[in-house]
């Protein structure tokens, strides 16, 4: 796990180091992200930049707040590409979002296994 995947210092800042709360907020980010991805796929398929942009923004905000910086950065790139109507970059950024999300899921699982969350 790298700092980029999950900034533990940031997470502890907002949860006060409460392990139970750490796990809860990461789980909520992951669940909301799954839902957002489910809505992003059809939005991107029909090139609906407005809906896609709102979903990317939501992903970015929630992940940045808990310290999931890689996911937040990828979501930010996606949001900007959609704002610019740059569908090539948007497609690449969406793949990065999926990859960051998969990594975050792994990180969350390993933290849980280690009793860190």
């Amino acid at each position: 796990m790298s700092l980029m995947d999950l900034n533990m210092s940031r997470l502890h800042d907002i949860t006060g180091g409460d392990r139970e709360l750490n796990g809860e907020v990461i789980r909520l980010v992951l669940e909301d992200a799954e839902t957002a991805i489910g809505e992003l796929v059809p939005a991107l398929a029909v090139r609906n930049a407005a809906v896609g942009g709102t979903l990317a923004h939501q992903l970015k905000g929630a992940s940045a707040n808990v310290g999931a910086e890689r996911l937040a950065d990828a979501a930010l790139r996606l949001e900007r590409a959609l704002d610019d109507d740059d569908w090539t970059t948007a497609s690449r950024s969406f793949d990065e979002v999926l990859a960051a999300l998969a990594t975050l899921r792994d990180v969350a699982a390993s933290l849980e296994a280690a009793g860190e969350s």
């Binding site: 940031r10 800042d13 907002i14 949860t15 006060g16 409460d18 709360l21 809860e24 907020v25 990461i26 909520l28 980010v29 669940e31 909301d32 709102t54 923004h57 939501q58 970015k60 905000g61 929630a62 940045a64 707040n65 808990v66 310290g67 937040a72």
Partner: protein
């Protein structure tokens, strides 16, 4: 204190709840849907709202606009949380009624401090408003208390005067109401109408200064006795004058002028026309009409029509023609008062 949280990201809501749980006495209510939050706000007024900017419609700015429109009197502070540093977004939010901003990623220390300060400010304002309302209530109560005491004093004074006169308590009750009805028809203020209602019954208070041998004499008064009797107008004025109470000042004016006649043939000063106080001119008509329509030991009651014909015939001599016309115009009101306060009813109704 209640804090409403509105953000479509559940993790953010959970973080805000956690941060705000450290402010004593605070309860949070969270919404992922801004529309649901508006529905809730229709029934609950939070002490603070924390609203995300970018959400599925309505977004943060529209939410604030709709909230402020729904509760125009509300002083609930609203913090908008935005990842945007765009000045235009901030200006629009301020114009819509946002109180403060926070940036994402949220700094928990900053969120805690801003929320705590705004809640404290809101609470202080609420207490100040409650204090002002309570003071206002206290003043209103004190004013009402003074008015009630003033009315009670007048009532007691009138009861004392009644013991020395052969007219019934209902006479002064009706007179007060006739005078108040005329004041209303003249377009005088509610306070002036009330004062006429209460002051007119005191018009003959000066009779307390007249010896019983004259005041209660069954037959006609000789010229000398009449002269003494006429002193009651000045005596009433002397009793009532000099008060700081507007009501008693009016009563003094009425006592002095209620036997003056419009053509200058009255007493004590032979004043003419509008040199006679309006209140006294009103009282004169009320007094004569009631005296005519009431049975006395020395005469039967006149019919209403006969009394009104008499009042009309005295227009321009005894009475102000304008007030006579007004009195005849409100004939129905006058008759209703006459019926309501007939001599079978106890006189205490004067102050009701």
């Amino acid at each position: 204190m209640i804090v409403g949280l509105v953000d479509d990201a559940r993790a953010n809501l959970r973080i805000y709840e956690h941060v705000l749980s450290r402010i004593a006495g605070t309860r949070t209510v969270s919404f992922t849907s801004s529309e649901d939050a508006l529905d809730w706000s229709a029934y609950s007024e939070p002490d603070l709202l924390i609203v995300d900017y970018r959400m599925p419609a309505p977004d943060g700015i529209e939410f604030i606009q709709r909230y402020r429109a729904m509760r125009p009197q509300s002083e609930t502070p609203i913090i908008m949380i935005t990842g945007d540093h765009d000045r235009e977004v901030r200006n629009r939010a301020l114009e819509s009624g946002a109180t403060d901003f926070l940036h994402k990623p949220t700094d928990p220390v900053e969120l805690h401090a801003r929320a705590r300060n705004l809640l404290a400010l809101h609470e202080s304002r609420r207490k100040l408003r409650a204090h002002a309302a309570s003071l206002e209530e206290e003043v209103a109560r004190a004013v009402a208390d003074i008015a009630a005491r003033e009315e009670e004093t007048i009532h007691q004074l009138m009861r004392a005067a009644e013991f020395r006169d052969d007219s019934t308590g209902q006479h002064i009750v009706r007179m007060g109401h006739y005078a108040a009805a005329m004041a209303e028809a003249l377009g005088l203020s509610a306070e002036e109408q009330r004062n006429m209602l209460l002051a007119t019954p005191m018009h003959d208070i000066g009779k307390v200064a007249i010896p019983d041998s004259i005041l209660l004499k069954p037959g006609r008064l000789d010229p000398q006795e009449m002269e003494i009797m006429r002193r009651h107008a000045q005596a009433g004025y002397d009793i009532l004058k000099g008060s700081r109470s507007k009501l008693l000042q009016l009563a003094a004016e009425i006592a002095l002028g209620h036997h003056e006649k419009f053509d200058g043939s009255g007493y004590p000063y032979g004043l003419k026309g509008e040199a006679i106080a309006l209140s006294a001119r009103i009282c004169a008509i009320s007094d004569v009409f009631d005296a005519l329509t009431t049975k006395r030991p020395y005469k039967d009651a006149w019919s209403t029509d006969e009394a009104l014909i008499e009042i009309r015939s005295l227009s321009g001599t005894s009475f102000d023609p304008m007030l006579v016309a007004l009195f005849l115009k409100i004939r129905d009101t006058i008759l209703a008062i006459k019926a309501r306060f007939s001599d079978n009813v106890n006189g205490v109704a004067v102050l009701q």
